[in-house]
Symmetry: C2
Subunit: 728 residues, 2 copies
């Protein structure tokens, strides 16, 4: 077969024309991009390849931003909790604990209209005439006649005077340039300015083929403390979308006023882990509508000038929500996302709509990584880092292959590591082989029903988990399993979406957005899920599934799961169901050690029908149960290892009654290997996902098998006929 | 000094007259008792010593009990939770999971009046015309037109046909005699019968000096499952005090009806670990009044016949509540309790009123112990068991010495173990020495303020914790510390009882009766405690102190404690306060290893002023904080070891600002030793509480010290002058 090329975006850099040409050949590059902090030379621009140019509108025109400080982006913050311990006014330094370089209290817009002061001991708001602002070098709030030994907080509006990406680069990469700010396109003056600026910018970049929006306007929330450490970080929340103008517009449209407390949420903030209020959901819809309208206009202007528009699905992505309906109405030509894992690959590849997809791989060509560990300096090992991430990604790559890959950062850093340059060539060939052989068609999936994750967000937050997030490990497993995976929320269940579902997974801490909180005391939810399982469906719960204390139960589906958690209300009740672990259970067959997820489980077997798979009857690590025609599995926790990966897959297929098929149809026996079959192209691939040699028994579509050996990370391709020939 | 004798009650037994005489001499016995299942011979009765005769009125007259099955004691039970999965009536075998030998559903009293059926999915009660009883060999309840996939339970009234102590003896000690039942003196017929019976019984026992009531009427709750395992065990709850008659009387007196659900409490039962409802508190008061009235009458009849009445503080003690007001109005002459630990010693010695106090020591002269381990058979080691318990008790003995000790059970079993007979003689001498030297006066206590434990029960449940109970370890420490210890509840704080308090301890799982639940969102509670600490008080919190999610906090006293628990609401907030452990802190000085209570702590430092003493900043095992003039300590858990014992004592004195005094005034340096000084008798005692030799530096009242050596378990006595002479 001819060597495959293309589908590769190189971060080029002025002054490195020779290296760019070298890598263009070596890596099969067909497009160049600039990065935050780099520019492309005329020579590169004129090499005849596609040019991607980065544009972050909200901080592109710093002159304008500086001249219009009131156009800055804003958010609500909460002061520290201050206990009143003295007589007289209680004076609170509201910014204490925050980085004063990042935020500045907004005294331009009437604080009495937007700020709120709370007595957190009683929960009552302090009357407007009972507090006042003391302006000065440090803005303070004085509370008149506070109640001694009550706790007070101030919700206050700030300008974000140092834009988050700029701040990140200064802090992490030691940039010393002037701090950049970001403006809010929702504010009318800026709205018009940026649309005009966009037209000008396109005209000034005649070589640009693709405007790479990085991204649209509101960033995920990143708040630093006084020592520039992360204080609050949520990749999904709407804290950064606030402005007095938008709040006033919201009130006009929705008929009620959104208050600071609706976002500050007692100080928890409206994090994605909190079950959202209806007010917050309204606000999210309101802002999403605005972001989509403005973005659609931007894309329209790009197209009007004969260029293409691509969306970088990271950074300022809030409000774009690619999995919410109508994302494709913005008419992007492509979507690009950073990609560390199978989840992050699927986050890009599974976005609905007709766009090309590109993943930006790691390591970024920076000296250090996101955790400040050396990569392209000192004893950094960019090959090891790259292999580490690529291994995770490859499992998912077999399920859904993007159109393109790429890298980012400073090319000059990468050039110093020739073995890295070699490895990227291998990686790029593997990607292109998957793309070519699969033709990006849908691989074989087990059964005819979906495996779904259930939380309060559902599809809107599909593949948005990351591996550092509590529930992130399960989506990572799901990103590479031969099944049709989807994400649903509680309204989907209310609306009866379970017909095409085979297995529901619910993971989370009690009362979190992931577990579901009070959704579980809605009789419609529990009865529909019980009906689903009783009729043959599967249910997998992890940590605190269906948890919400109500009417004598903590796990509302204790009957389905066969387990219950002791939270103190049944302390005097014995936990007498104490069977031995059922070591011969189908689910455990690939485990070489006892199940132990390393948590202190207060979960006990609640049902004689439950089968213990790990832990003890009064400290369950894993259990299986039957309910009607269906099955359920409980895990006290879950973390990702090749064994656990397989354990989880076995749990999924056991609950769906697909054990035989899972093991013997287009399957591979070694837990360190993965495989996929593409019916439309008749191609089969199996790969070793470790750096050690492996052997595995491979099964074709009719259950015939052959044992094969694999070199480190090796991928083997067969047509169905070729595989049939070597199978017995 | 002449050999001390007396204060010792021997369990005598017919047919062992010679052995009784031998032990009377050897152990210094001055009273005999019978036990459950033994009788005393005429010869023993006429030896001239005091005779204690056991009487359990409610099961004393089994002929009456058998002839009057409707007079049996009763309680509410709850059926298993049954999920409706089929069409048609839902039929529930209500007794499934319970021991059918123990309980029988009460169909004599109209079930539609007393039983309740609940839809536990919605929490709604099923209408009375929507369920009916199916009588038969097995009593069932049929629910008409249940909602499919809802969960149902039945609250039902039962007779307890097998009395708990009888049942215990059959199951544990393999008794084969006829099952005994217990009747309820609240039922009018039985009320009169038992009072008549008591008079007759006294007349029939002319040698009896002391009627030993074991005990009055309602037992702590012990429910067995079908396999005779404990299903529910609560030493303090009022589940066993129910009868239709009493419920009706209650309604007349309190003006509202108490329902089955008020006790069944969603299936949690009204366990002592649950924060009680006002209705439950009303019921407890109602029954306590009844028990006291009836008991007072019994004691009056005993006294009228020239005998004395003693109360065995165990078994059927519910309603007597010795620490609730007016216990002494019942006019008991003495109180006796079983005693395994310091807590159990103080439970007896600290009961208010003018009664003699006696503790029944362990091991009980049975073949096996409460955990069914061999003691007086096979490879049982009664000396080791006895030393184990006596070591725990001795610490508390120095603080509060009872009038008497005793044993129980079958003397014939003990006689087979001569080394046990020898050791009891030593133990008895130690007891009598403490009693003699201290004259039972109050020992020196540190400072002039109390150390109090705070929970919803307070004084009413003083010293009621046991070592198997979550919060039991701290009272065990407190039982032997040189401080004035007390127990308070939240109303005590509302009523302003904190003036004489130096340190408040709050331990418990969140939302439990021990931690306090919603009491912590009462602004009066938190402001009073903050004021108390700010003015110099101490606060020690363990596990989930002040826990109740409210207004952005989980620990409502996070400001005082300096720590907060992550329960999922602040998942995106960094926990950046990450100091090293302050190894040189006063509290840690006697620790030889790092603090680790073996729990996975989700507690983090919430305050820069907090000092880390164990764990890490985001998984705190122990921390100390200052708040105003006061101090607070947090511990993630606590369990009892000599080191932890001292650790806790150091925490107490640190919060009270009494560090110097604690270490150098009437003190002993070795953590395996304890001491006490009795100002009124001028006596000082120090003892080795291990079986290994120890040396320790001893401090007299002026801080002068001397190093002394101790043999295994040795106690040394000095007058203050003698100690002064040997100190430098």
């Amino acid at each position: 077969m001819e060597k495959l090329t293309g589908g590769f975006t190189l971060p080029a850099q002025a002054g490195m024309d020779k290296e760019v040409k070298f890598l263009t050949e070596k890596w099969g590059v067909d497009a160049f991009r600039d990065s935050d902090g780099t520019v492309l030379s005329d020579e590169i621009l004129e090499m005849g390849y596609d040019i991607y140019s980065t544009l972050c509108l909200i901080r592109a025109d710093q002159e304008y931003n500086k001249a219009n400080p009131q156009e800055c982006q804003q958010k609500f913050l909460i002061s520290e909790k201050i206990t009143c311990t003295e007589e007289g006014d209680l004076v609170i330094d509201i910014m204490k604990g925050y980085l004063r370089d990042q935020f500045k209290p907004d005294l331009d817009n009437d604080p009495k209209k937007y700020w709120q002061v709370f007595d957190r001991t009683t929960g009552e708001e302090v009357a407007l005439d009972q507090w006042e602002i003391i302006d000065g070098d440090v803005v303070k709030v004085a509370i008149k006649s506070p109640i001694k030994y009550h706790v007070y907080t101030v919700n206050f509006l700030v300008y974000q005077i140092w834009e988050s990406t700029s701040m990140y680069n200064h802090i992490t990469n030691n940039w010393t340039s002037e701090h950049q700010s970001g403006v809010d396109p929702h504010k009318p003056k800026t709205h018009d300015h940026l649309l005009n600026y966009l037209d000008r910018w396109i005209d000034e970049h005649p070589n640009t083929d693709y405007v790479r929006f990085t991204s649209m306007m509101y960033q995920f929330t990143l708040i630093k403390d006084e020592e520039k450490r992360n204080k609050f970080l949520d990749w999904q929340c709407f804290m950064d979308t606030i402005s007095p103008y938008a709040l006033d517009e919201f009130e006009k449209e929705y008929g009620y006023k959104l208050t600071s407390e609706d976002l500050v949420n007692q100080g928890y903030f409206s994090g994605c882990y909190c079950v959202p209020s209806q007010k917050l959901l309204d606000w999210m819809d309101f802002k999403t509508k605005f972001v989509r309208g403005f973005t659609k206009q931007c894309v329209k202007q790009v197209h009007a000038k004969g260029r293409k528009a691509v969306f970088f699905f990271c950074d300022h992505w809030i409000g774009t929500e690619p999995y919410k309906p109508d994302f494709d109405e913005m008419n992007f030509d492509g979507i690009i996302g950073p990609c560390l894992s199978g989840v992050e690959l699927r986050r890009i590849t599974d976005v609905p709509g007709n766009m090309f997809t590109e993943v930006r791989l790691y390591p970024y060509f920076f000296e250090v990584d996101l955790q400040d560990r050396p990569v392209f300096k000192d004893d950094g090992d960019p090959v090891a880092a790259c292999k580490h991430w690529w291994k995770s990604i490859r499992r998912a790559l077999l399920r859904a292959c993007p159109d393109r890959i790429g890298f980012g950062g400073y090319l000059e850093l990468a050039m110093a590591y020739p073995d890295f340059l070699d490895y990227v060539a291998v990686l790029a060939d593997e990607f292109r082989m998957v793309k070519e052989k699969s033709k990006q068609t849908t691989p074989y999936s087990i059964g005819d029903k979906k495996v779904v994750m259930l939380d309060v967000w559902g599809k809107a937050r599909a593949w948005m988990h990351n591996e550092n997030w509590p529930a992130g490990h399960v989506p990572e497993v799901l990103s590479g399993i031969p099944a049709d995976v989807d994400f649903i929320n509680f309204d989907d269940i209310r609306n009866g979406i379970l017909d095409d579902v085979g297995c529901i997974i619910n993971w989370g801490q009690a009362n979190s957005a992931w577990s579901g909180g009070e959704n579980w005391i809605d009789e419609e939810i529990v009865t529909k899920i019980r009906e689903f399982v009783a009729n043959g469906g599967g249910f997998i719960g992890i940590d605190a599934p269906s948890a919400c204390e109500h009417q004598g139960s903590f796990f509302q589906l204790a009957d389905v799961l066969g387990v219950e958690r002791e939270v103190g209300n049944t302390a005097a009740w014995a936990k007498n169901i104490q069977p031995d672990v059922s070591k011969d259970h189908f689910i455990l067959a690939d485990m070489t050690h006892e199940v132990d997820f390393g948590v202190q489980s207060k979960v006990y077997l609640a049902n004689e029908s439950a089968v213990l798979l790990g832990g003890t009857g009064d400290a369950v690590q894993m259990a299986a149960n039957t309910f009607g025609k269906g099955k359920a599995v409980y895990l006290s926790e879950f973390n990702l290892t090749p064994e656990h990966n397989r354990l989880f897959w076995r749990a999924v297929v056991w609950t769906m009654g697909l054990e035989e098929e899972a093991l013997t149809k287009w399957a591979t026996s070694n837990i360190c290997t993965d495989c996929a079959f593409y019916p439309e192209t008749n191609q089969f691939v199996v790969m070793n996902n470790t750096e050690e040699p492996q052997t595995s028994t491979i099964f074709n579509g009719e259950g015939k098998s052959v044992e094969l050996s694999f070199e480190s990370l090796e991928m083997k391709w067969f047509t169905a006929d070729e595989l049939d020939d070597i199978c017995k």
